[in-house]
């Protein structure tokens, strides 16, 4: 894990309604030297966005609403167009919809900067986070 040496700084908002995913994302991001603020509802996340500017956000697509992630993305892009967004989703499997974040049309529409599968792979997540943080600076 070469990202381990490259300590980053900054604040990441993580929004997910699964307490375990929140814990796990926190562990991975804190290991990179980042400050992590978590929220487990769309409502709390919106309050966070209103309060302070993060350096990066990670949103779950489905929280209390099917489209919580989309709405949060929209709010972010309105308020902080330069802050990178990572969307985490398991929608395709969960809903059995032929919809996944691999489709470029969806990506353009959602306007997130990266998409990750819900089965977290720490190296992949860390690589994406480093890349996006470095690019946005």
């Amino acid at each position: 894990m070469n990202e381990k040496n490259q300590k980053l700084s900054g604040t990441v908002f993580v929004a997910d309604d699964d307490p375990d995913i929140l814990d796990q994302l926190r562990m991975i991001l804190e290991a990179m030297g980042l400050d992590v603020i978590t929220a487990d509802t769309q409502e709390k996340t919106e309050a966070l966005i209103a309060e302070q500017r993060p350096d990066l956000v990670i949103f779950d697509l489905m929280m209390e609403n099917m489209d919580s992630g989309f709405i949060l993305c929209h709010r972010m892009k309105q308020k902080y167009p330069d802050v990178p967004i990572i969307m985490v989703s398991a929608v395709a499997q969960d809903a059995g919809m032929r919809f996944d974040t691999k489709s470029s049309e969806m990506k353009n529409w959602i306007k997130a900067d990266a998409f990750l599968d819900k089965q977290i792979r720490p190296e992949q997540l860390q690589a994406e986070v480093s890349r996006l943080l470095n690019e946005s600076r």
Binding site: M1, D17, D18, P19, D20, I21, D23, Q24, M27, I28, E30, A31, D40, T41, E64, D94, G96, K118, Q119, I120, P122
Partner: protein, 392 residues
Amino acid sequence: MKADKSLRLLVVDDEEGMRLGIERGLKNHSFSFPEFDTEVSYEISLAEDGESALDILKNEVFDLILLDYMLPGINGLDVLLFVQKEHPETTVIMVTAFASLEVAVSATKHGAYDFLAKPFSPKELRHVVSKATKHIMTLREARRLADEKRHIRFEFLSVLAHELKSPLAAVENYLQLMDQRISGNDLEVYDKSIKRSLTRLGGMRKMILDLLDLTRLESGQFERHSEWVDLKDVLDNSFESMAVLAEEQDITLSSSFDGECRVYAVAAEVEILLNNFISNAIKYNREHGSVVVKTNSDSREVRIEVLDTGIGMTEEEVGLLFGEFVRIRNKKTRNIQGSGLGLSIVNKIIRNLNGSIEVKSTPDVGSTFTVVLPINNESDELVTPESDMATA
């Protein structure tokens, strides 16, 4: 509510009078089937010979065909064979002036459903059509039930797979992170991960045990051995096994008994029943809340009320409660572990024991689950049709 259903009928006959006679006899007539809650009427098409019948049948599907046996050119039997091959779900009634046994046998051998001998009265016509219609409706109902069953099983499996997948993923992720020493080499920093993993594994184990209970109850293969079960003993045991869970949330458990409070039943089923109620009453409670179990009995039945001071449910949520894998999902229940099978198990047991259940609930105040069981459901030979259906 009565449904009006329109089915499609093709009349194939070379005599115009016959075609129009049948049309007149069936048009504006509806067949009533209270057993299916349906009124059936026919939308009628006419064909004057075998050739035009085949032309129509190449493009259209009918529910019922009244088919003349003696047609010029392509005869009725050929049309029947075509229908059998291309539209096996279409019901055919053969019509002929030569109602010989031979013709009848030949036609039914080739799949005709019934027979109508010329000449016939409108009443005879309707009688035969009515019988065939009932046959069509019965087949459809059977197919619908089979589809529904298949669908339910599919749904069950897909939900089950999903419900097992999420805890599995959680534990796998934790182990992976610990394996990478993501937060350093001190074991203590992983305490929470270890605890969460154990909790999620415990949830999976509970779900698998519940599934075993459920399949055991549903299979009905096992001999159910009844004995006198003292509810006080069962409840004491249940409270004891739930003590830790209750302490975590500082919930007081208490019980009261009025009367003998014994039932002649399968002990294991009664235990599963009460355990489910009490663990729910604890899990969906508030901190520092209470669970009260009031039991009273008379000579015929015993009544068990489980009262909690929990989060409660809306009327709508109560309605959903007994389905398989239904977990009332909202902000208040998000962190509560459950298999979603508990109450479907409860429901099956209550049916096994010829009992009944009632739920009263107020959001943020609490819920009361009331179960009434016959003291001895075996001595009472009055098996209700409902209990028959439950075990079928």
